[in-house]
Symmetry: C2
C-alpha cells in the first residue's frame, strides 16, 4: 500500500519500517468529496489507494481551473506539507479509498530520515514539472493538441502504475472536467473528442476509452514523456545523477 509511493521515487533501505510505523487510518469516500479546501489548514495528509482525484482553483467570476489529476497510488496532499493555509482545492473525481496520515507525523518523518526527505522532494519536483507542462498545454497548444496531450499523460501515468488494461482505461473525467483542465469550454471539448474519434486516434464505449492509434495521438498532442521523469531512480548515495530517459 503505502510503500508503493515511497518506493516509486527513490530506493530506501530499512527506513521502510519507519514508513510502516506511521499511524494511518483507512477511509472510503464518495465521488466529488473534498480532501481539502482552499483556505483550510491541512492537518492530515491523504494518499489515494484507489480512484481518482483532482486539484483545482476557482477564479473570482466562478470559473474553475483544474491544475492536476491524481491517480490511484499517488499522494495528492504532499503539496500542502509545510505550508500554512491551502491555496487550492483537492476533490475526488470518483469514489475512492484513501489512507490518512497525521501531517505532523509525516513531517517529522521527512525531517528525520534523509532518504525519505529525498524521496518526497523528488516526488514534489516531478509534480512541479508536470505543472510546467500543464502550463504549456493550456497556454500554447490548441484544444485538439491539448486534449491529446492530456490523454497521453494519463495513459503513461496509468501505465507506469500498471493501471492500464491493454490500451484502454476507464475515463474518470467528464467532458466538462476536461474543459476545466484545458481551459476551454465543455462544448468545445466535445467537438475535439469527436474529432479525435473520427480521426481514428481514440475509441469510446461509454466511460471506457481506448487508444486506437498511440503514435498518432502522441503526435497530435506534441507529447514527450520526458517531463514525467519516469524511470529515474537515481543512486542511493547522496549525489545520484541518475540516468537519462
Amino acid at each position: 500500500l503505502l510503500k508503493t509511493l515511497e518506493m516509486h521515487v527513490r530506493l530506501d533501505d530499512a527506513d521502510r519500517a519507519a514508513v510502516r510505523a506511521l499511524s494511518l487510518r483507512l477511509r472510503s469516500l464518495d465521488a466529488s468529496a473534498y480532501l481539502l479546501r482552499e483556505g483550510q489548514v491541512a492537518t492530515h495528509c491523504a494518499i489515494l489507494l484507489s480512484g481518482f482525484a483532482f486539484r483545482h482553483k476557482l477564479t473570482g467570476d466562478g470559473a474553475r481551473q483544474i491544475t492536476a489529476i491524481h491517480i490511484a497510488g499517488e499522494p495528492p496532499d504532499f503539496q500542502n506539507l509545510f505550508l500554512a493555509v491551502s491555496d487550492h482545492n483537492i476533490q475526488l473525481l470518483t469514489r475512492a479509498e484513501i489512507a490518512v496520515v497525521p501531517r505532523a507525523e509525516l513531517e517529522a518523518l521527512i525531517l528525520s530520515r534523509p532518504n525519505i526527505a529525498r524521496a518526497i522532494l523528488t516526488h514534489v519536483l516531478v509534480e512541479a514539472s508536470i505543472y510546467r507542462e500543464w502550463i504549456v498545454n493550456v497556454g500554447r497548444r490548441d484544444s485538439r493538441a491539448a486534449l491529446s496531450h492530456l490523454l497521453c499523460e494519463l495513459v503513461v501515468r496509468l501505465n507506469a502504475r500498471g493501471l492500464l488494461d491493454g490500451l484502454s482505461f476507464n475515463l474518470p473525467l467528464t467532458q466538462e472536467q476536461f474543459a476545466d483542465a484545458l481551459g476551454v469550454t465543455s462544448v468545445h471539448v466535445n467537438r475535439m473528442v469527436r474529432t479525435l474519434e473520427i480521426e481514428g486516434l481514440i475509441t469510446r464505449n461509454g466511460r471506457r476509452l481506448t487508444i486506437s492509434n498511440w503514435p498518432a495521438l502522441q503526435e497530435a498532442g506534441d507529447f514527450n514523456a520526458r517531463y514525467l521523469h519516469l524511470g529515474e531512480v537515481g543512486s542511493d548515495g547522496p549525489v545520484g545523477t541518475g540516468r537519462a530517459a
Copy 2:
C-alpha cells in the same frame, strides 16, 4: 547573499555555517544567456544575485511558453535538484550576477541537515503553488486579467524582497515575453497594456512601470496573494502550522 534565500523560507540556527561553507563561484552573465537547457543534466545550481531570469519550454511547432519568472535573490535551479535531465530551459532576462554551487554539494547539504531540507522543500512547494496559479492565469482569465495578475504578482514578489521603488520598478520583460508568459500574442499584449494605461491602472515611461491604481489592478487581475505564501515562517519545531495570511 546566499543567506537571504535560505532564511527567507524558514528560520535556521547555526547550520547557516554549513550554508556559508558551500563552495560558490560568482559569475556575471549577459542578458538571454542560458543557465540550463532542456535535455541537459544540471551539474551546478545557480542563485540569482541580481537581475531577472525566466523558465520556459518550447512546443513542437516552435511556440514558447514561459512558466516562471525569477527575481534577484531567488534560486531558479532548485527545480532540477534531484532529477536527471532537465525538462525545461532557464534563461536570463537581463544581465545578471549569479552564484554557482556544485549540485552534489547542495544535495548533500540538504540531506544532512533537516532544517535546510525543510527550507528547500518549503521553497519548492511555494514555487509549485505559483505554477498552479499560473495555470489558472493562462487557462481561465482573459488577457486583460491575466496581464494584470502577472503584474500584481511581480509587484508583490519584488516588494517582498525590497526591490520595489515606491510603486514602480523596471519592467524586465518585453511585450513578446509577456505574451509567451500569458499564452497570447505580443500584438494582443500590446493592446492590453495600452488598455490598462488608458484605464489609469498603470503608467509607463520607457522601461519603467508604475502602478497608478493598485486596488484597481488587483481587482482587474483577480489577484489574491495567498498563493505566494508570504509571511509564513512557521515554528522551528517539526510541526509548525504557521499562521494564515
